[in-house]
């Protein structure tokens, strides 16, 4: 008997070093193969191609060859320097080599008879051997076609180039133009010879905002994450991909409790917040969310925990002044190195950039607890979908650090009511605290309640609280009043209250 065995070796992947890419591609680019990177104009194709080489040099000392059909090397050196890649120095160290196939100004070639791109192949091979390159970037295929009249020769020759790259054993990316964000893969039908691996970069305009995404369309014979992932291009860093749904929820769940900063609130939560929990504080403007944030920080710093405060609604000066009014000295805590305040104007950057800045602050300060006041302020920066991805990514990032994260959300109206932040956030938070205005007999009072406390018993009552120069003072539960949460509090006479209370008892 004979058995047919298919014992093909699995396709090895080359880690690119591009942040987030290994997650969505499940390990990097297929090694020893060519990947087509297609995108519309301005979709960061050249950056991707160059970063593929740059990270190879920076992280693994792998040399690379950059074949340019479009921009002359002088322009690329200047442009890529702004992303923090010292191309000229790398060229001197024989880590980076250009093959300049850009059009020569004033030297238009006349075509007369048959030709092939043998010289290009020779030059690429020569460059690869010269620096011992294991990575090759070709930018862009469309620009090759525009240099020649005879497209069928170019197509045949590019196929030959792709074969030659395979024989050389290098891992390559070729960029190609697209005319639409959602349409055919590329122009000139180039995907027919580099069709095994296709990555698409998009840069659509949605609600007057640009939103960059990357999609691994296919990797023949190997797995990858499906769908579009947002990314951003940052100075000194290049492309950073935010792998939303590739994030794994594998954090452990801690039973250790930490203080909220207010002993009474700790009691309401059944003994404090869990150490690795996400806490959402919801309330109307001015009802005390920033105060609760300050108390949360005081609670941490008084136990020598490092606290990071990311503020998007108030300036540094305002925060300091407000905290002084509640008896908390933020400036002194900063001097002691226990607190770091980062204040940013929401509109100063896109959501992806905010997220990366937040991650950067968390990674560099290494806080023991973090507060974001308020998440709602960031709602207006991005699209609804973008905001949702932002929330999930931020929450997961904080959760991975196994530190408590307190996030505030501003309700749509003064009496409460759902906000976009809460709609997206409430299901992934462990604890929800509501702060509400309560109008009672012509007086405005404030109430606090713990709506949700995952994994723990908590008090169900709505307690009144006051704000004075020592911060938040939680008092007794509201009695004889219903409809606080629905925003329509009604006073109930004492006898009626007892009657309602007894109604559901057997």
């Amino acid at each position: 008997m004979t058995f047919l065995t298919h014992s093909k070796a699995p396709i090895e992947k080359l880690p690119t070093g591009i942040e987030g890419f290994e997650l969505i591609s499940r390990g990097g680019l297929p090694k020893g193969r060519t990947t087509l990177v297609a995108g519309t104009s301005g979709s960061a194709k050249t950056v991707f191609a160059a970063q593929f080489l740059a990270e190879g040099i920076r992280q693994n000392q792998e040399a690379g060859v950059f074949v340019t059909f479009e921009e002359p090397p002088e322009d690329l050196r200047t442009n890529l320097l702004s992303l923090g890649w010292p191309i000229t120095a790398w060229e001197a160290e024989k880590k980076w080599c250009f093959v300049d196939a850009s059009p020569q100004p004033g030297l238009d070639a006349i075509e007369s008879g048959e030709f092939d791109l043998g010289a290009l192949l020779v030059r690429v091979e020569h460059a690869v051997n010269k620096v011992g390159a294991s990575r090759v970037a070709i930018d862009s295929l469309g620009a090759v076609f525009s240099q020649f009249v005879n497209a069928s020769i170019v197509r045949a020759e590019l196929r030959r180039l792709a074969m030659a790259l395979k024989e050389m054993g290098v891992t390559a990316v070729m960029t190609a133009e697209r005319t639409e964000e959602y349409g055919e893969i590329s122009r000139f039908g180039v995907e027919e010879f580099v069709a095994d691996n296709v990555i698409i970069l998009r840069n659509p305009l949605i609600e007057e905002k640009r939103r960059r995404t990357i999609e691994v369309l296919k990797f023949r014979g190997t797995v990858h994450q499906k769908g579009e992932y947002p990314f951003t291009v940052l100075p000194d860093q290049g492309i950073i991909i935010i792998p939303i749904s590739a994030i794994e929820l594998k954090q452990r769940s801690s039973q250790t409790r930490v203080t909220s900063g207010i002993p009474d609130l700790d009691r309401m939560c059944g003994g404090g917040f869990f150490r690795d929990s996400l806490i959402l504080v919801s309330g109307a403007t001015g009802c005390g969310k920033t105060l609760l944030t300050a108390e949360f920080i005081k609670g941490g710093t008084s136990r020598n925990e490092r606290c990071l405060l990311l503020a998007y609604e108030e300036s540094r000066e305002q925060l300091i002044r407000n905290a002084i009014g509640w008896g908390i000295d933020f400036e002194k805590l900063e001097e002691q190195g226990l607190l770091k305040m980062v204040c940013a104007y929401p509109e100063s950057a896109g959501l992806e950039d905010h997220l990366i800045q937040m991650k950067h602050e968390i990674d560099s300060f290494k806080p023991d607890r973090i507060a974001v006041d308020s998440v709602t302020a960031l709602e207006r920066v991005g699209t609804l979908r973008g905001f949702r991805e932002f929330i999930i990514s931020l929450a997961s990032f904080v959760k991975h650090r196994e530190i408590p994260g307190l996030f505030t959300a501003t309700t749509a109206t003064l009496t409460g009511g759902p906000s976009v932040t809460e709609a997206h956030f409430s299901s992934i938070t462990d604890t929800i605290i509501l702060l509400r205005y309560v109008e009672m007999l012509g007086e405005m009072r404030r109430g606090v309640t713990v709506l949700k406390m995952r994994g723990s018993m908590h008090e169900k009552e709505i307690r009144e609280y006051a704000i004075d120069n020592h911060g938040m003072q939680i008092g007794k539960p509201f009695r004889n009043i219903v409809g606080i949460l629905s925003g329509k509090p009604e006073y109930v006479i004492r006898e009626e209250y007892h009657r309602l209370d007894g109604m559901f008892q057997e």
Binding site: G113, F115, A119
Partner: protein
């Protein structure tokens, strides 16, 4: 020898490929119409001298470059398309 009306050419070929041979034959034909001493032709084999192809930014072969008199001209292909070629040599 280097009189002002001398034409300097460089022909890039890849080894002894048929395209390169055809280009050389075409040039020989043109030369019959011109005084030989007016044409200086240098043949560069890119397989032997890849660095030279780099210098002149050659990606397609065969390629004929007019080095002097200025301005530079470049013509690619096996030069079998006669009308183009004759114009290139100023005929």
């Amino acid at each position: 020898m280097n009189s002002p009306d001398t034409l300097h050419f460089r022909l890039y070929v890849a080894g002894s490929s048929p395209g390169g041979q055809r280009a050389l034959a075409s040039i020989a034909k043109i030369r019959q119409h011109l005084f030989d001493e007016h044409i200086q032709l240098e043949v560069v084999d890119i397989l032997m001298e890849p660095a030279k192809a780099e210098e002149d930014h050659i990606i397609a072969v065969p390629a004929l470059v007019r080095l002097s008199p200025a301005p530079r001209y470049k013509i690619i292909g096996d030069l079998t398309n006669a009308p183009n070629l004759r114009a290139f040599f100023g005929l």
